[in-house]
């Protein structure tokens, strides 16, 4: 089977300047979530040379897809619309209604950038970011596209902060607060990457997702042995158990806790961890890594990368 490569990344954090990145045109109608995703995608295209100029991109539109992870989409827009609907429905602005659909940001990004193979939004909780990359790999292998822009976005707002605080109070989550941002990667078949002389950041050699049970230890052990894994970067926002007790047979020194240096950004955690692993000097000497995300309900997603 052909290798699947990560060939570029674009990302923004909360201090981003959308006008600087995108220009003024069309910005007024974009809510914050859409701006986050649009900006990270724009930076990805510029970083990889896929954006030729303001109008043209260097990829085949029908062969390029988008997979993004997000908890709710434009959550602030959704709640604003709902509260207006409850108060004065006859005065609600219909132009903002499309923003209340979770896949709207992905839709706007597809329209602006001519992404026409397909567009998917995932809301799989904390593991969604890793799922976006893993599913990109699978869709490429199954022939649905030649390149996938895969990543996620999450918008910080009052309601999300409140929900996190409540989940922390209920002892479901470790962290009381949540960050925001957007990260998008270009994921493509090696043949496509070679054809355009793309820089290769990593190969995605493994992806799976399943519920943790007593056999999970064996699965992870087998992966570590088979692929000579030298680091497992993990994130687990729940409180019930520590990672060492979940995988007691593995060397503790293999594990690196993403939350040691980052606060959670919900669905973004997986792609933020991946970006960190690919760009940080902390992992300069690591070649074969697993990224491991665990939802509070113990659904685990594993991404294997070879730098």
């Amino acid at each position: 089977m052909e290798k699947i490569l990560i060939t570029g990344v674009g990302s923004v954090d909360s201090g981003f300047n959308a006008e600087e990145i995108l220009g003024k045109k069309g910005l007024r109608l974009m809510d914050r979530s859409t701006r986050l995703l649009m900006c990270s995608t724009e930076l990805l295209l510029k970083n990889t040379g896929l954006r030729l100029d303001n109008k043209n991109t260097f990829y085949v539109e029908e062969q390029t897809a988008l997979i993004v992870a997000s908890m709710f989409g434009s959550i602030k827009s959704i709640f604003d619309f709902c509260r207006e609907s409850l108060t004065d429905p006859q005065y609600v602005n219909p132009m903002v209604f499309p923003n209340t659909v979770t896949n709207a940001p992905a839709g706007y990004v597809s329209i602006r950038n001519g992404i026409r193979a397909f567009s998917l939004t995932l809301s799989n909780g904390f593991v969604a970011g890793l799922d976006a990359i893993g599913m990109a790999k699978e869709y490429l292998e199954n022939g649905y596209a030649e390149m996938v822009f895969a990543g996620g976005f999450e918008e910080k707002c009052e309601i999300l902060d409140y929900g996190f605080k409540k989940a922390w109070e209920l002892n479901i989550l470790k962290n009381a607060s949540v960050g925001e941002g957007s990260v998008v990667f270009s994921v493509e078949k090696k043949s496509a990457a070679d054809k355009r002389g793309a820089k290769k950041l990593a190969e995605v050699f493994f992806y799976d997702s399943f519920r943790l049970n007593k056999d999970s230890n064996n699965i992870l052990e087998d992966l570590v042995d088979q692929y000579q894994i030298d680091c497992i970067v993990y994130y687990y926002p729940g409180v019930k158990q520590e990672i060492e007790s979940i995988f007691p047979n593995l060397d503790k020194k293999l594990f690196y806790n993403f939350y040691k240096d980052h606060i959670t950004s919900y669905s973004l955690d997986g792609v933020k961890a991946l970006e960190w692993v690919l760009t940080s000097s902390t992992f300069a000497d690591n070649k074969n890594l697993l990224l491991l995300g665990i939802n509070p309900g113990f659904q685990i997603s594993i991404l294997g990368i070879n730098k």
């Binding site: 989409g73 709640f79 597809s110 026409r116 397909f118 799989n124 599913m135 409540k166």
Partner: protein, 401 residues
């Protein structure tokens, strides 16, 4: 590569809370549209929708599930329970990772959204209880389904709006086909949404009382709620355990218009591409398809452009077309999942469901609309088509087994 078959189905709709009632009412032209009661429509110009009036969660859910889950997850579970029991699937501890869940939705839990918003408006955000707040994430839907049946494999919620059910089904199809999963519960769920009702009303897209897809006098869509679920598994797995096979998925097609956030592309290029991708994958020709189960919302824009695609794609014959949204209204993320159930029933029974309320042909629409009651044609291959906001298109090809 594995073949992918369906061994169980379930629905929760305004015309039936089980497949038998749903199907019998559908083919006999019964409508589930009624005056909306779950929220106040007095400030709106429209008052009708496809609301499920008699859903009793006690039939399908435990007390804990009723307390902790929003209506979206409850409807999903109701449909999934029926599908699971029809399939007679037995999940043993060794194989749990081989069984997954893939569901689609638009908003997940819009009723919870409204409940939170009402409290926020009247008393302040800090008065929203933790128990209510944690019902909001749409991930609760596949989570609840997986927990109910102890499925430990892939677990996904795809909020791809009105095509979500087909996207979720297509994803599961690929996982089973490539041997990554043996069986998956797939489906879609969306409760009645005040946001959707308000938005579509304000866009002028909602009909006064009746939804008439493809009709000359169609006035728009109906906002509705529902859930549909199907058990898909590999043929090998189904045969090994002696399961009754209801139908087979032979191909799927997905695409993106990249044209407009709400309007379909006028030339229908995206949907055409999805249809072509599906028939190519299935190794069939368009003339092999015996029924087109349309997205057919009842709006001028959708029905015109979709019927133009049908005419363009089916060159060799006038394939029968119907839209079950005429009976149910538009159940959003559940729509294509419920339509998949209708497609399987069409293959099983030999009857194509009708476009309820269709009266007068539109001279600008040159398709064969199955009208009022079901038509006995004994279809062998049918296609279920779904289009969504964001320009997302997904089609599923079903074949009689």
């Amino acid at each position: 590569m594995q073949r992918v078959v369906c061994t169980g189905m379930g629905v929760a709709t305004s015309i039936g809370l089980n497949v038998n009632d749903f199907w019998n009412n559908l083919i006999n032209g019964k409508s589930g549209i009624s005056k909306i009661e779950s929220f106040d429509t007095s400030k709106y110009e429209r008052h009708y929708g496809g609301e499920i009036k008699n859903f009793d969660p006690n039939q399908f859910l435990t007390n804990e599930e009723k307390k902790s889950l929003g209506r979206g997850a409850q409807l999903a579970l109701a449909a999934a329970v029926q599908a699971f029991f029809q399939s007679s699937l037995v999940v043993n501890e060794i194989e749990v990772h081989r069984y997954g869940v893939s569901f689609g939705t638009t908003m997940g839990e819009p009723q919870v959204l409204v409940d939170i918003s009402e409290i926020w408006l009247k008393e302040g955000l800090e008065k929203v209880s933790a128990e209510l707040a944690i019902q909001l994430p749409m991930y609760n839907i596949p989570d609840a389904v997986a927990k109910k049946f102890k499925f430990g494999g892939r677990k996904t919620i795809i909020p791809n709006a009105c095509a979500a059910g087909n996207f979720a089904t297509a994803y599961a199809f690929d996982l089973i086909k490539t041997g990554k999963q043996d069986a998956m519960m797939v489906g879609g769920s969306d409760p009645l949404s005040l946001d959707a009702f308000t938005g579509f009303c304000r866009l002028g897209a909602v009909a006064p009382e009746v939804c008439r897809p493809f009709d000359k006098n169609r006035e728009g869509m109906m906002v509705a709620e529902g859930a549909g679920a199907l058990v898909l598994e590999s043929l090998e797995h189904a045969e090994k355990r002696g399961a009754e096979i209801l139908a087979e998925i032979i191909g799927v097609g997905i695409s993106s218009d990249a044209h407009h956030i709400t309007a379909p592309k006028p030339d229908g290029e995206g949907l055409l591409r999805a249809l072509q991708n599906a028939v190519t994958q299935a190794h069939i020709k368009e003339e092999d398809i015996d029924y087109y189960c349309a997205h057919g919302t009842g709006t001028q824009a959708n029905d015109s452009s979709e019927s133009a695609v049908v005419t363009k794609f089916f060159k060799s014959k006038k394939v029968p077309v119907s839209s079950i949204k005429s009976a149910l209204g538009h159940t959003m993320g559940a729509a294509s999942a419920i339509a998949n159930v209708a497609c399987v029933m069409a293959l099983q029974s030999g009857i194509i469901p009708p476009t309820t309320n269709f009266k007068s042909a539109d001279p600008e629409i040159n398709i064969d609309v199955v009208a009022k009651v079901g038509r006995k044609t004994n279809p062998n291959i049918v296609v279920n088509s779904a289009l969504a906001f964001g320009g997302n298109n997904a089609v599923v090809l079903w074949k009689k087994y």
